[in-house]
Point group: C2
Chain length 212, copies 2
């Protein structure tokens, strides 16, 4: 079951998963055939069904694999006590945006095919999505406790605004509504945190007047 790493043998299962990312991103999950995935992977049609029970299970696997990495990353960020809430959120934003930067197809598939269609599949996905909210909410909650964040906006709600902004950002890049350049990625990290934490309004406190 485990791939015998070390030999020159290619892990066909991995090959199929990677091909699926490409194909799902290009044609969409519902508009592609399993044979497209097999062709893209350079593998026989039947082999797909040797490793996966169904087309949908491939999508599940891709989502769960990646989502778990993200959950672990957020948990790790939350544990870094030397960081303030704003810095923690910046790290989270960085992680997600870098995920898109390095694997745009995979992130596209997850956002377009999974996070919004979560009720089409089992409740497992929703459970996992909720966990992400909760992780972020924990960061917000501790900031509320120590007085950095407003008490009258619940942690869940704050987490939602933050994550919503990020997901919308990725969507905009995916759909070419915003330019997806290296510069934009970096700027977006700072801006999304600034917008979420500091708000859009100019405040009396330290609003940096960066003229451009």
């Amino acid at each position: 079951m485990a791939a015998t790493a070390g030999t020159g043998a290619v892990d066909k299962r991995r090959l199929i998963l990677d091909a699926a990312i490409t194909v799902f991103a290009r044609q969409g999950f519902h508009h592609c055939r399993v044979s497209d995935v097999a062709d893209e992977a350079g593998v026989a049609y039947g082999l797909v069904y040797h490793y996966f029970d169904s087309k949908e299970e491939i999508l599940n696997e891709l989502f769960l694999e990646r989502w778990q990495i993200m959950l672990d990353a957020i948990t790790a960020i939350d544990r870094r006590d030397e960081l303030g809430p704003r810095e923690k959120l910046h790290e989270v934003a960085s992680f997600i945006i870098d995920s898109y930067r390095h694997e745009p197809d995979l992130m596209k598939v997850i956002i377009v095919e999974v996070t919004r269609a979560a009720n089409s599949f089992g409740r497992l996905h929703l459970q996992k999505i909720r966990e992400a909210y909760d992780e972020i909410a924990q960061i917000v909650e501790s900031a509320r406790r120590d007085g950095t964040f407003k008490r009258d906006i619940s942690a869940q709600f704050g987490a939602m605004c933050f994550y919503g902004a990020i997901e919308q950002l990725l969507s905009a890049w995916i759909f070419d509504l915003l330019p997806a350049t290296e510069d934009e990625f970096e700027r977006a990290k700072t801006l999304v945190v600034e917008a979420t934490c500091g708000g859009l309004e100019v405040s009396a406190s330290g609003a940096p007047a960066v003229s451009g």
Copy 2:
């Protein structure tokens, strides 16, 4: 072509559209059959194809119909010069949230099946979605000009954060990640604007200390 309003005759086209909302919301666009829509409407299978060229065209129609109403509403709100930026955004949030309150199934279909799958269909949808961003961005832009909103966050970016937060909010209600009660709807209107404009952080200026 136009429905002869006034007679007791039911507009079958409308009947089919309404049935489609119910069925798409319940089963998902891809997991339902055209016959399900026909059955729900209490109409013969073939009649669906009398009024629509394809299953997808029904979805298009539902989206475009509703989206145009929203675009018009946002334009109207932007024109009301007596309102400040925060009030304008509150009106926009109110409109969208009330849309969900009154027609949850339709909004579910639009958010789940269209806004995130926009590239599966023609570019027309993306164009319309971009228009919504632009309308909101215009509100943000005028606030930037008069110094209410920060200059270092572009209007497009600000609009995206705001709309992203709202769409995430609706998603959370749709997927039962947040309670969808009348009270929550009303509270959310204020909170989403407060979070977007004022930010999550406590600022030195007028952060209302609503204890609860």
